[in-house]
Amino acid sequence: MKKNYCGCDSCGTPVETINSIVENHLEDIFHYCHHCTDSQGRLLPFERILENTTKFYIDTQDLNPVAAKTMAKQMLLEMPAWKRNI
């Protein structure tokens, strides 16, 4: 899936403040929200973001934890930050 979304390129959230802008060697510009980055704006490891995204699904919509984790993984693997790297 091409990078065509203006939200966070790691978790897909559209309404968070963008915390970090990172250019990679392919000259793509990635935008990350504060949930997906550390205090210096560096992208957190995939497992940590998977955990955070799962929790986000559960906390906001009361989804079943197993279903939430499956959905989180499906979605993250489509995001530009993770599509080529996992």
Binding site: G7, V15, F56, T60, L63, T70, Q74
Partner: protein
């Protein structure tokens, strides 16, 4: 600076997404094939696949456009100074109204679409829920609305809106159900969660 070729590529991509959105809104997401999208955008079928290697990619692009509008609406209509839940709900309704026909098909067909699309749809919901609760907390602290959990606040709201959308043919035939019903639905929802109303 973009070259002419890059500009053309971006324009073609935009045309394809716009055409897809119109067709999804008119005839449904599942019922729309890529050949029809390409024809409507005035490009060859092969060109569509250069931009969107599979059908799900173009659906994702339309969903992303909806997500961008949500993002813009929340930025425009909710500021650091205005932390009222009603502002978020109004902004949410405004975006749903803008995408009403597409969004209604999306709600009705989401279970039949690819899991990754469903996951993204629920991420958009998660973001609305998050924003609703951030603003609701202020109202809760000020005693304007009763304490209510984040998921139930959102799920109650979205259930109400989706019910009217899914049955729009009987609530507002051939018209925008959101445009017609949003003042009433907004007032009803606020009264439902309002402490002031409950105490009266």
């Amino acid at each position: 600076m973009k070259t002419t070729r890059q500009t053309q590529k971006t324009l073609t991509r935009k045309k394809l997404v716009t055409a897809a959105m119109k067709l999804f809104a008119k005839q449904g997401i599942i019922a729309t094939n890529t050949a029809a999208i390409a024809k409507s955008a005035g490009v060859s079928h092969g060109t569509l696949f250069l931009h969107f290697p599979c059908r799900d990619d173009i659906i994702f692009a339309v969903l992303s456009r909806f997500g961008r509008s949500l993002c813009t609406a929340f930025k425009l209509h909710t500021s650091k100074n205005i932390k009222s839940l009603k502002c978020v709900l109004k902004a949410h309704l405004r975006v749903i109204e803008e995408f009403e026909d597409f969004y209604t098909h999306l709600v009705m067909e989401i279970s039949l679409l690819a899991p990754k699309l469903k996951s993204f749809f629920f991420m958009l919901h998660a973001s609305v829920s998050y924003r609703m609760f951030v603003n609701a907390q202020q109202d809760m602290q000020e005693g304007k609305i009763r304490p209510i959990s984040r998921p139930l606040l959102f799920n109650t709201w979205i259930a109400l809106i989706h019910y009217y959308l899914v049955h729009k043919d009987i609530f507002s035939p051939k018209k925008s159900v959101i445009k017609e019903k949003s003042p009433e639905l907004l007032t009803h929802f606020m009264n439902l969660i309002s402490l002031e109303t409950r105490n009266n």
